[in-house]
Symmetry: C5
Subunit: 87 residues, 5 copies
Amino acid sequence: MLMAKVIGSVVSTQKDASLVGKKLMIVQPINGEKENIRFQQVAADTVGAGVGDYVLLCSGSSARKMFSGPSDAVDYAIVGIIDTFDF
Amino acid sequence: MLMAKVIGSVVSTQKDASLVGKKLMIVQPINGEKENIRFQQVAADTVGAGVGDYVLLCSGSSARKMFSGPSDAVDYAIVGIIDTFDF
Amino acid sequence: MLMAKVIGSVVSTQKDASLVGKKLMIVQPINGEKENIRFQQVAADTVGAGVGDYVLLCSGSSARKMFSGPSDAVDYAIVGIIDTFDF
Amino acid sequence: MLMAKVIGSVVSTQKDASLVGKKLMIVQPINGEKENIRFQQVAADTVGAGVGDYVLLCSGSSARKMFSGPSDAVDYAIVGIIDTFDF
Amino acid sequence: MLMAKVIGSVVSTQKDASLVGKKLMIVQPINGEKENIRFQQVAADTVGAGVGDYVLLCSGSSARKMFSGPSDAVDYAIVGIIDTFDF
């Protein structure tokens, strides 16, 4: 999983049916020192994450498995909220 | 999903049968500030997106699932049009 | 799909059986301005592409689906020849 | 597989059920000279690795297959501890 | 597939059962000019490749399909030895 910070969200009216009703959050991947890495993505939230939260992301077919209903278009999902980073 | 801007299209006569009849758009991934990230790809459109639109992309096996007919060669698809970015 | 230019080929005698009889082309991914991006890969050809052609590549499980016979080792395939780039 | 060094761990209370009970380690991918490459990820441990260990990581659907119980959210796993690098 | 040069190997005693008995080679991806690209990985050998050989790599679910026995942890495999690069 990638570590990331939730920094915003997107609104999309015209979209695949499998995205309807999902919170689509803009996430910025980070390293353990909370520095930005890679590039931003949009992830479907599964744990009630909000802007400013540090989260865990999963990708690909793992992300689709997070939902009991249709999720065909989901390839990135928020699957945990990080409480602490331990070194 | 990646955020992206639709910047063009490609024409291909000689191609896999699963690509026939699909709009193949050149997309430039962006971050939430609409700055270019990563590199351009060609995505099959599923939502009627046009040049200049900001869109959501999905990739891999998710992209193939966007089509009811044959889509074996599709590994990138446009699955939503972004109305607004909220921060 | 990635856009790419076909720049060469590789010869391999000792290889997985699923690669026998396939044309293994060296491809250089490009953007819409035909500038090099990312890094070169070897893709199995499915459309009769030759050196100098601009092509569409698909990757991962999509690439394996391009062949009716064995293709287990194929994770990159040429699936179309690009006639024109429209902006 | 990627080579990596285990550098820490994360604590997450609110997370997908498939992550409960798993050790979630922060890993820094390295090359054979033990120099940092790419970017940090969080990997579920399967071999009893601890901070400071050099390990092998697998990703994607391979990572999910490392667990007999639920592992839907796992897309990165530690699958071996490296004893020696031979050149 | 990626082109790569075999540059070493790793020894791992404590590892997933699906890696037992496999040669785990350190590979450096290259382009057609034999310049290093991307980053090193560890790939399971299927064609008897040795240090110094130029090889073809496949990744992801393709890599797991190279083995008749258990291979769940394998996400990178050497699937061919390159005899010549033609331009």
